[in-house]
Structures are given as C-alpha cells and as structure tokens.
Symmetry: C2
Subunit: 362 residues, 2 copies
C-alpha cells in the first residue's frame, strides 16, 4: 500500500517550499496534512491512509471520525500517491511551436486550457525544434512527468509523430487531419477548402471575375487545402484560372508575392492563405496608390486582431469548438478504450466580411 505524501503545511514545509526571506503567513491557513487529519481524529497517520486507500481495513466508527476530520480540514490526498494507484496524471502534453507569434495557435491554446480544465485535465507545455526532437520529448514527458496523452498540432504529410505514438500505444488527438495514411487516431480539423471556397464565392457574388490566390509554397497539407477551395470555386464559376502566387508566411515575402500576382495576372480580388500574407498584399496595393476594397478586394484567413484593425475580411477558425472537441476526444480515449474507428471532426470556418471586400462591381 502506498502511503500518502504529505503536502507541506506551514509548520512542516520542506526546504524547497520555504518562503523567501521576509515572507510571513498572513491570509492563508496552513494546508491540511495527513498528520493534522490524524491528530484531529485521534488516530495514527497509517489509519488515515487506510481509510482512504483500504477502507475495508478500518472499523466503521473510526472511519467516520477520520472522514469527518478530512472534511473539516479540507484535506485532499496528494495526487502523486493517487497516480501510483491509477496510473493517471490527468495531464495532457502540448508542444508550443517555435514561432513566437502564431495567433491561431495561441487562441487554440487558451481555448484548450479551458476545455481540458472543464474535464479536469491540465495542459503541460513542451518545446521541440523538429519532429525528431518532439518524439524524444514524448519519452521524456511520459517517463518524467507521467503524461496521459498528447494533443498534437501542425500535422503534415509524412508526420512521424502520430505513427510513433500509435506504436507506443500512447493516446493522442490531433488538431489537423493526417495528410497521408500515417494516422489512426481521433482528429479535429478546420475545413480550409470550404473557407476559401466561401471567400471566392463571396467575391464572385460581388462582381469579381479575376480572382487571384496568394498562398504558401508547399501545396500539400493545409496550404493545398486552402488553394483547392479557391480553385474549385473558380472552376465551378467558369472564371479564368489565374496562376497563384506563393510566399512563406511573412508579410514582407507576402508583399513581394502580391506584387508578382498583380503584375502577372491583373486580379481585381485576392484570396489569401493567411492574414499575414493578406497584410503583405494590402501593403503592396496601398503602396501602388490603390485603395483596398475599392480597386482591389482582399480576403485573409484566420481572422486575427490584425484583420479587425485593418478592416480585412477573413475566415475565422472555430477554435473554441476545435478545443472542446479535441479535449472531448482525448478524454474519451483515456477514460474508455476505443471500441470503434477513431472519431474525426471537420469544422467549417466562418467568413467575416469587412471593408476589404465591400460591395464592388469592377
């Protein structure tokens, strides 16, 4: 039988929890410990431990006294001991991407912390430079911090992370579908193609006929999905298929690619794979003395703060819903072994229209 570790009370804090010099107890009562429960109930610490761990070993009126003391003092047994019994930590790992600013990830992180918390899970963060380092981090976190499972983001073709976790029988859910056959796990994703299709149809309904696409260099995965929605809507409407322009996700690179798009294809509207690229396009259009939304319409993707400030129409990902579904799926996997194929949730983004794509008849 594992005994309880005692949370440090004010009188018995281990060195590592001693307050800094100058700190004195003021507002807080000392936290209840196994010892204070035992003292109040007039029993040994072992008896308190037995009441919680092995109640059949303790006589009824002794157990009642101990339970009353536990309630009165608000004592909660230490989770580390509970972990050894249940092998569950209620902790989910989440890699924080290397780029310091990724509004979509950060919003998802906030929403996931909330959604996981509502199911009594906590999110533990880690960093990794690449997939190989991330796989190393899994083992560290599983061994060192006893993590129950992982929430992965940034899935991509050839993603070794999900096959590694499947092989190690570690539960995971991904925000992002598998872009090949690498994953047999539950996932939640946003339907990027549906988003760019909606943006393109919106522009068509406003009279645009030459609608360009400013996307990312890699046409696989998320970038290809967003390109496909635009291309499908253009094709369905029988409009000219202007050659897309491409840049990495950076406003300066986006501006250069927008310049090429304007020069080579003379669009009256541009659907962009991200708000960051859209900002590059806005800079270039403005620098050419044209007004965004009057001479050239622009639609972004992600509906960041920047969109609102810039009057940029954009596609809003339902990140709160993505987080709720992700938390639900991994909690289900942890709490009940899967008895069917893993569940997949694909959510549409919402087009938010602003001045950058206001009514316009070229």
């Amino acid at each position: 039988m594992t005994d309880f570790s005692e949370p440090p009370g004010a009188g018995a804090a281990p060195a590592s929890r001693r307050p800094a010099a100058g700190a004195v107890g003021r507002s807080a009562a000392p936290r209840a410990t196994l010892g204070s429960v035992a003292a109040l109930a007039g029993v040994s610490k072992q008896t308190v431990s037995n009441v919680i761990n092995a109640p059949q070993m303790v006589r009824g009126n002794t157990a009642s006294r101990v339970n009353a003391a536990i309630t009165q003092l608000g004592y909660r047994p230490h989770r580390a001991a509970a972990q050894l019994r249940t092998r569950r930590s209620r902790v989910l790992g989440l890699r924080i991407p290397n780029r310091y600013t990724d509004a979509v990830f950060d919003r998802f992180l906030h929403a996931l912390t909330d959604a996981a918390g509502a199911l009594d899970y906590r999110i533990m963060l880690y960093t990794a430079d690449d997939d190989t380092a991330e796989i190393r981090a899994y083992d560290e976190l599983l061994d060192g911090w006893d993590i129950d499972g992982f929430v992965l983001t940034g899935t991509h073709p050839g993603d070794e992370r999900t096959s590694y976790l499947s092989g190690a029988a570690v539960p995971c859910v991904t925000f992002g579908r598998p872009w090949d056959d690498s994953g047999h796990h539950p996932w939640v994703d946003v339907d990027g193609a549906a988003g760019t299709r909606a943006a393109t149809e919106h522009l068509i309904s406003h009279g645009h006929r030459r609608i360009g696409f400013l996307g990312w260099p890699d046409s696989s995965g998320v970038g290809g999905d967003r390109l496909a929605g635009w291309a499908g809507a253009i094709s369905a409407a029988g409009l000219p298929a202007l050659e897309p322009s491409r840049a990495v996700n950076d406003a300066h690179q986006g501006r250069a690619a927008a310049a090429a798009l304007l020069d080579h294809t003379q669009p009256t509207a541009i659907v962009c794979a991200s708000d960051v690229l859209a900002l590059g396009a806005i800079s270039e259009i403005t620098a050419r003395g044209m007004e965004v939304g009057r001479q050239i319409a622009v639609v972004g993707f992600d509906d960041t703060d920047i969109s609102e400030v810039s009057g940029l129409s954009s596609l809003a990902q339902p990140l709160v819903e993505v987080a709720l579904q992700s938390a639900r799926l991994i909690a289900a996997l942890l709490e009940k072994p899967a008895d069917g194929p893993p569940e997949h949730v694909l959510l549409p983004p919402t087009l938010v229209t602003r001045a950058s794509s206001a009514a316009f008849l070229p």
Copy 2:
C-alpha cells in the same frame, strides 16, 4: 519503500493507453519497464527497485547487472515514484489570461516554456476568471497536480495572490513588480517608465515640442509607470504638459481617445501605452487625411507583429530575458532555500524606430 509504477509497455498497456482501433505498433520499440529490466538482468522486480531506491541493500555484482540492463534498455523510473521520494514534481503553474490575444503574454509563455525546459521544469497551464478563482486554482493544482511553484503575471496594486502564496509557503516568482507592499517574493519586470522616457526623448530629438500621451484609464501599476516615463521626459525638457488621453486597451477605444487628444491638445507626436492604442491613433490620424510619421509621429509599446507591419516605432520588451530570469529565480527558490532578501530584476525595453517616428521638424 515505494515501489516503482511501471510505465505501460506495448504488451501490458492498461486499458486507458490502449491504442485506438486500427493503431498498430510500427516504428516504436516497446518502452522499457521494471519487468523488462528484471528479466534482462535475471533478478526480481523488487531487486531492480532496490538497486535504484536502496542500493546499499544489493550485492555489487547483482547491482552491476541491473545497472547494465537499465542502461541497455533505456529504462527510466517513473516520475510519480520519484515525486513521493523527493516531493518535487518539476512542474510550474502559469495562469493563461482570459483575453485570447495578448502578444506579450504569448511571447513570454513561449520563452518561459523554453527557459524552464532548459532547467528541466515544465509549465502547466490553468485558467481563472479573477484573483479569487486563481487562488482557488492554486490549491487544486498543489493538491491535484503536485505543482512545485507558480509564475505569476499581471501583478497589480492590492494583489492578493502573492500574499496568499507567501502565507501558504508556496514558492512563486512574478513577471511584474508588486505595486504595493504585498509581495516579498522574487520578481522580474520591464522598466516601462524607462521605455516611454526613451520614446519621448527620441521624439524631442526629432524636433517635436507638443508630445501627447495616449494611455490606459488606470494610472496605477503598469499604466502609471508608462505614463510617468513620458511625463518625466516632458518635464525635464521644459515642454508643455499636454493632458493625456485614456482608453481601455482596444483599437476602437484607442481611436476615440486619440481623436480627443488631437482635438484638445494639438500634439505633433503621440506616445502610446501599447501598440493596440497606437493602432487606434494611426487609424484616426489616417482617417483625418494626415500621414503618420510625416504630420504626426506615433510610438507604440510592445513591438508586436502589428508594429512591424504598420511601420510603427515601438518599445520591445526583452521577453526572452524576462523568461530566463523568471525561470532562474524560481528554480533557485525551489532548489535552495532563500538565505537573503528575494532578488528583483528590472530590465529596460528597447526602442525600435520605424517610419511612424521618422525624422521630422514640425
């Protein structure tokens, strides 16, 4: 003696770690367990446990065999067992603010995850609606997840969180100084007054004489600090003390406050308490047909992505350094009881000049 909990190997995964249907082991070797180490060394699991927990109980050549097997298999004892021995989880709690987009917090979070990771700590997130809820969350996290200590942000006058933690003898470090006598804990902060002073002196050196301030309604804490730097530089230069204009941290509110500032004080330059307020000012100036950086100079605070895209001069907080220092201070507190007053680190921000405050002689 606490025994080890066995990390689940592929052959003995508890139900909760069973792979989803369809998942099969592929790339990963089964994770080493106490049992596989024992089998390889030809000893009992108890002997393996003794080698790690109580080596004096085990004969030398048996211990050698076990240690060789541990090395060969890459076995790492389960952290939950180690926690019970050391009462240390190597987990730090960090509250994620309610606002979904806070570029400064998010950058700090990334940098702190890195800095804590380098010291073998992990960051666990939690949410709370207010200080009272945050204090409740402390107890949940201490009892339920065995957290070693907390990194707090958003310190403010009358902050009950730090006095609560001091009273409960729970180590904490704050990003943000205590704005009254509530804290006797180590802290790291950015010198906001030094930042706005540098911004104001920069504008003065470019010929501006009527320099306004667009700040937050609450003049205590961070907002008051940023206002004080501007006011000090204005006073030192003997320039007119224009009445500041105030708004909550929102671009629309900021725009309205900027309009009032322009109408009532006719500034040629505006120092803003944040980039978000600065964006409001830019919108208003542009809407009046004036050019930012030519007719009216604007300086923001926080050097967000928005600054770079908008050509906004701004003050960059040294968030990587703040994170490194925060991690260092709490690790020191956890690893060695404080034997002197708590350490405080105040770091200056860096003025990044762009077109919005280009050379100008009104």
